[in-house]
Amino acid sequence: MTNSSNVRTRTPLAVTLSVWKALFLRETITRLSATRGAAVWLLLEPILHTTVMLVIFTVIRVKVLSGIDVLAWLIIGLTFISVYKRTASQVQGAIGANKTLFAYRQVKPIDSLLVRAFLEGFLALIIILITCAGAVFLFDVDLIPDDAGMVLSGFLGLWLMGLGFGLVCSVAVELIPEMGKIIAMLNMPIMMTSGAMLPINSISEPYRTWILYNPLVHGLEVARLGVSSYYHVVTGTNLLYLYQCAFVAIFLGLALQVRFASKILTK
């Protein structure tokens, strides 16, 4: 119709950037308005979760965990674990949710995966800031970080781990739909042993060392240590291990995307 005289050829980078922007806006709209009160639930979920866990800990009369207030311990654990959990599950479902948009040559499955991961990380950061600010002002919980850089490095590690796991799972569930059930089952023990809800310091050896193979533990412990330098971090915590696992998962995930790119589109 219009623009017939000046047909522009865009660079591949320009095309990709415009696709990312369009997908980001499209994902944000559906994420925040697809269901009734979707945005409210995003915030309410960690708060309710924390409340339930707090009631349990109060009943068993725990006020301090590993040297910090139990409420602070719970808020960091539950909000930071959902950085991983939500990023992984959103990335896993990205291909299925955007399938109709692959009718446009510009949009590739990998675009939808990366954009979703970015959006989840962004939302998780906002949720953490709001939840923590609320706890600080309303309940006077000491959540002002002693070492903000350390907290951020824990956050980033958990987010990258979620991205890596999601990338691998997205290919798995696209090619073998039954994998979705297995991944859901696998997530249960990963969550239980992450140290988000159950203190790992209370577990005796040699089991504690085994639990340290769960990379998420290291991200959560470092985040708590970053918030309060009085925190008794689990012996053997090693943030580098989390990053190593995350990068292995990301590279494996990207390799699977490349290997099965046309199969995913064809299905």
Partner: protein
Amino acid sequence: MIIVENIYKRYQTTHGPSRWILEDVSFVIPKNVSVGIVGGNGAGKSTLLRLIGGVDKPNRGRIEHRSRVSWPMGFGGLQPSLTGRQNAKFICRIHGHEDDIPERLAYIQDFAELGKYFDEPVRTYSSGMKSRLQFGMSLAFKFDIYISDEATSTGDASFRQKAVDAFNNLMGQSSLIMAAHGAGALKQFCTAGIWLDKGRVHWFDDLDDALNAYKDSIGQ
């Protein structure tokens, strides 16, 4: 111009690979030639359009675009949870038209005639409304070749006339590749024809020959 060279296509099913939908297919669609694709159900018309549109990849062989080719109009491309307007904006953005979104939206809205449904989620649309929106969206951008899967056969009579007029306006500067069951729509726009039969492609410079070959094959 579109060059198709020795392409093979089959799909993966739960019971292993399917038969070859397209087998060793080669042809060249010259510049400014509109082509109608004929063939029975399951002959591979949609598959061929998807391959030409770049949505799907052939198992073997090569497809080269030497002009700007639209996305295949009739295949998805609409996100059900978003409104017609949001879908249209998405298309504008991925095509690099961030700066003139309002004008293009106005064109699409005017063409699709969806009324207040333009701001309702696409999942509430009827199939006719969907194809009107898809049609408007693809016409809002300038392509050398438009790929259409029976776009003119959906919608009511007044919309069909509008689609025909829009196509006629495009003739001369752009061409069409379309699949349709009815000979009428094809004859209106296309000069050349492709007859798909048993995984093979038969090219005809004259659409009538393609239609006759197809009719002969089904014994009419």
